[in-house]
C-alpha cells in the first residue's frame, strides 16, 4: 500500500526519526538557538560547540516533531561537525534547494559527500507542506551560528 512512499520515508529517515543522533543538551555550548514551526508544532533546541578556529566541534539538539524534522536535525548534527560557519551556511542553502526542488544542481564536488548523506530527504520536495519540517533544523543552525536571539522558523 505504501511501497512508493519509501522515497520519502526511507529506512534511514525512519531510523533517525525514531532514534535521533546527538539528541542531547550540550552543557558547555558556545551557541544556542530555538526553532519553532508553530503551525505544524515542530519545535527544537540546538546547541553548538565551536573549535578555537571557529569550526563546529559538536552540535546537538532536543525537541519534538514529526519524523522528517527529527531525522533532518539528526542528520544535520552529524553532517556539520568540522565545518566552518560559512561552510555550514552554504550547506544549508544547498540543502534547502534540495528540499524544495528534489534536485541539487549546485552540488559541487566539495559538497558532494555531505549532500549524498542528506539526499535521503530529497523526497520531501514532492510534499510542499512538509518541506518546512525538513528545513527547520537548518534555519535553527543559521540562527545559532549568527547568534540571533529570536526563534527560527521555516514556515
Amino acid at each position: 500500500m505504501f511501497d512508493d512512499l519509501r522515497d520519502l520515508y526511507q529506512e534511514v529517515i525512519l531510523d533517525h526519526g525514531r532514534k535521533p543522533r546527538n539528541f542531547r543538551r550540550l552543557e558547555d555550548a558556545d551557541r544556542h538557538a530555538r526553532g519553532d514551526n508553530p503551525m505544524c508544532g515542530d519545535r527544537m533546541e540546538l546547541w553548538v560547540k565551536l573549535e578555537a578556529d571557529g569550526r563546529i566541534a559538536d552540535a546537538a539538539f532536543q525537541g519534538k516533531g514529526c519524523a522528517i524534522s527529527m531525522a533532518s536535525a539528526s542528520l544535520m548534527t552529524e553532517t556539520v561537525r568540522g565545518k566552518t560557519p560559512a561552510e555550514a551556511h552554504a550547506l544549508g542553502d544547498t540543502f534547502r534547494a534540495l528540499a524544495m526542488t528534489g534536485t541539487c544542481p549546485d552540488c559541487g564536488a566539495e559538497l558532494a559527500d555531505d549532500m549524498e548523506r542528506l539526499q535521503v530527504l530529497g523526497g520531501v520536495s514532492e510534499y510542499p507542506s512538509r518541506v518546512k519540517c525538513a528545513t527547520l533544523a537548518w534555519h535553527t543552525l543559521n540562527n545559532a551560528l549568527d547568534d540571533k536571539q529570536e526563534a527560527a522558523s521555516s514556515e
Binding site: M1, F2, Y9, G41, G65, C66, I68, C133
Partner: protein
C-alpha cells in the same frame, strides 16, 4: 471506492456524482476526501449558480435602479430569505451576511461585547472551542475588562454541564458562547439545555454552528439561543461567506461594527446615523456571488434532506467508531454520546504529520495538527492528531479503506 446505496435509503453514489472534484485522482489513487470538517467540496449546483450569476445577472446590489442590479439585489435578498428558512429564523432581517464564522463571531465580540457588555461582566466559553470562538473573547477581555470563564470538558469529551452551571451561578456571566459541535471531538452540545440554563442565569447564548449546521437541522425557534453563526464553505457553499443570526431586539441594540457604504442611513462629515438591521452590519459591497452560491448550497442540502443526511451520517459514525476503535495503538479523542462525523486520533508509532503524508499517498485526505483547538489538545495532553471528517458524499467503503490504511501505516512506522 464507489459508494453504495446504504441502509438509510440515501443514494450516496448518486450524490457523489454531483461533486466534480470527487472523481479526481491523487498521485494515481482515487481521492478519498476526509477533510470536509475543514472545508467541504462544492456540488455542481453551487458552481453552476455562481457561473450563471456572473454570466447573466451580476451587478452591485442595492441602490441600483437598473435591471441587472435589481436582479442581483433580488438574488442576494433571496439568499437571505433562504438562510432564514434554513435556520427557521423568525424574521429574515435577523440574517446578517459576513465573510465567515470567524467574522461573525468577531462581529458579536466587538459589537455586543464592547457595545452592550460592561467591564466586570463575564463571558463563558468552553475548553473545546475552535480558536474562532476563543481568541475574539480573549481580545475583548484584554480591551474591555470583561472576565473570560472557561467551562470544562469531561474525559469523554462532553461539555461538563455541572461546571457550566457552577460558572453561571453568580450571575455575572452575561454571554455564553460555545460550540454547537466540536470540530475535533465531534461532540454535539446540548443546545436547548444550554439556552434554558443561560437564560435562567440572565445570560444570552451564542452557538458556534460552523460544524453543527452541516450535520443537523438547526432550528432557532426550537433551540432558543440568541446568536448563531455558521460558515458557507463547510456547508458545500463558496468561501468568503458566513452567517450571523441574532434575535432582532439584540441586533437592534447593538452598535455597528464595520463602517462604510450601505450601513448608514445618513452621514455628514460630523456624524453618521446607522441604517436599520441587517444593513447596519453589512458595510461595503457584500459577498454577492458567494451569498447566491450559499443559497444554491442550501437548496442542494435541502433537496437531499437533512433527515437523510443525518441518518447517513449516523451510519458513518457507527462504522468509524467500530473500525477505528479496533486498531491497535490508535487513540480516539472524544467519545461523546451525541456526536457527529468528526474523528480525531493519534497513532502510537507515528507523528500526526507523518501519518497524514502517508495517508495522502493512498489518496486519503485527512488533516493533521491541532485543528485550531490548541487548548483542547492541551486538555487531553496530546501534541497533535489526525482528523477524519465526513461530508454527505462520504461512504462506508471510504471509512473501511481508512481503517485498512491506518493498520498498514502502523506496520510501516513500526
Amino acid at each position: 471506492m464507489d459508494g453504495a446505496v446504504v441502509a438509510t435509503g440515501f443514494d450516496v453514489a448518486r450524490v457523489r456524482q454531483d461533486f466534480p472534484i470527487l472523481s479526481q485522482t491523487v498521485r494515481g489513487k482515487t481521492l478519498v476526501f476526509l477533510d470536509s470538517g475543514a472545508s467541504a467540496q462544492k456540488p455542481r449546483a453551487v458552481i453552476d449558480t455562481m457561473v450563471r450569476t456572473m454570466e447573466t445577472a451580476y451587478a452591485n446590489v442595492h441602490r441600483g435602479a437598473y435591471n441587472l442590479s435589481e436582479k442581483a439585489t433580488a438574488a442576494y435578498e433571496a439568499a437571505r430569505a433562504a438562510v432564514a428558512r434554513f435556520l427557521n429564523a423568525a424574521d429574515e432581517r435577523e440574517i446578517v451576511f459576513t465573510s465567515s464564522s470567524t467574522a461573525a463571531i468577531n462581529l458579536v465580540a466587538h459589537s455586543y461585547g464592547r457595545g452592550v457588555l460592561k467591564a466586570g461582566d463575564a463571558v463563558l466559553i468552553s475548553e473545546m472551542e475552535h480558536h474562532a470562538n476563543l481568541v475574539p473573547w480573549q481580545m475583548l477581555r484584554d480591551a474591555h475588562g470583561v472576565e473570560l470563564r472557561v467551562a470544562r470538558v469531561t474525559d469523554a469529551g462532553e461539555l461538563d454541564m455541572a461546571d457550566v452551571e457552577a460558572k453561571l451561578e453568580d450571575g455575572r456571566v452575561k454571554l455564553v458562547a460555545v460550540t454547537h459541535m466540536s470540530n475535533v471531538l465531534g461532540t454535539v452540545t446540548p443546545a436547548e439545555r444550554l439556552a434554558t440554563l443561560a437564560h435562567a442565569h440572565g445570560a444570552k447564548l451564542l452557538l458556534d454552528g460552523s460544524q453543527a449546521a452541516v450535520h443537523r437541522r438547526v432550528d432557532m425557534q426550537a433551540i432558543g439561543c440568541d446568536f448563531y453563526v455558521f460558515t458557507g464553505h463547510k456547508l458545500y457553499g463558496p468561501t468568503g461567506i458566513g452567517v450571523l443570526w441574532g434575535r432582532m431586539e439584540l441586533l437592534e441594540r447593538m452598535p455597528p461594527f464595520l463602517g462604510g457604504g450601505d450601513m448608514i442611513a445618513e452621514v455628514s462629515l460630523e456624524r453618521f446615523l446607522p441604517a436599520s438591521v441587517p444593513a447596519k452590519f453589512e458595510a461595503g459591497t457584500p459577498p454577492i456571488i458567494e451569498a447566491i452560491g450559499l443559497h444554491a448550497a442550501i437548496d442542494y442540502v435541502e433537496s437531499i434532506g437533512m433527515t437523510a443526511i443525518e441518518a447517513h451520517e449516523r451510519t458513518l459514525v457507527d462504522r468509524a467508531t467500530t473500525k477505528l476503535s479496533a486498531i491497535e495503538g490508535l487513540t480516539l479523542m472524544g467519545r461523546a454520546q451525541d456526536r457527529g462525523g468528526v474523528f480525531a486520533f493519534a497513532l502510537d508509532v507515528a507523528h500526526a504529520h507523518d501519518l497524514a503524508t502517508l495517508l495522502d499517498r493512498t489518496g486519503i485526505a485527512v488533516r493533521s495538527g491541532r485543528h485550531c483547538a490548541e487548548p483542547l489538545h492541551a486538555r487531553f495532553n496530546v501534541e497533535s492528531t489526525c482528523r477524519a471528517s465526513f461530508g454527505l458524499y462520504t461512504t462506508v467503503e471510504e471509512i473501511d479503506y481508512l481503517a485498512e490504511a491506518l493498520v498498514k501505516a502502523r506496520e510501516f512506522f513500526s
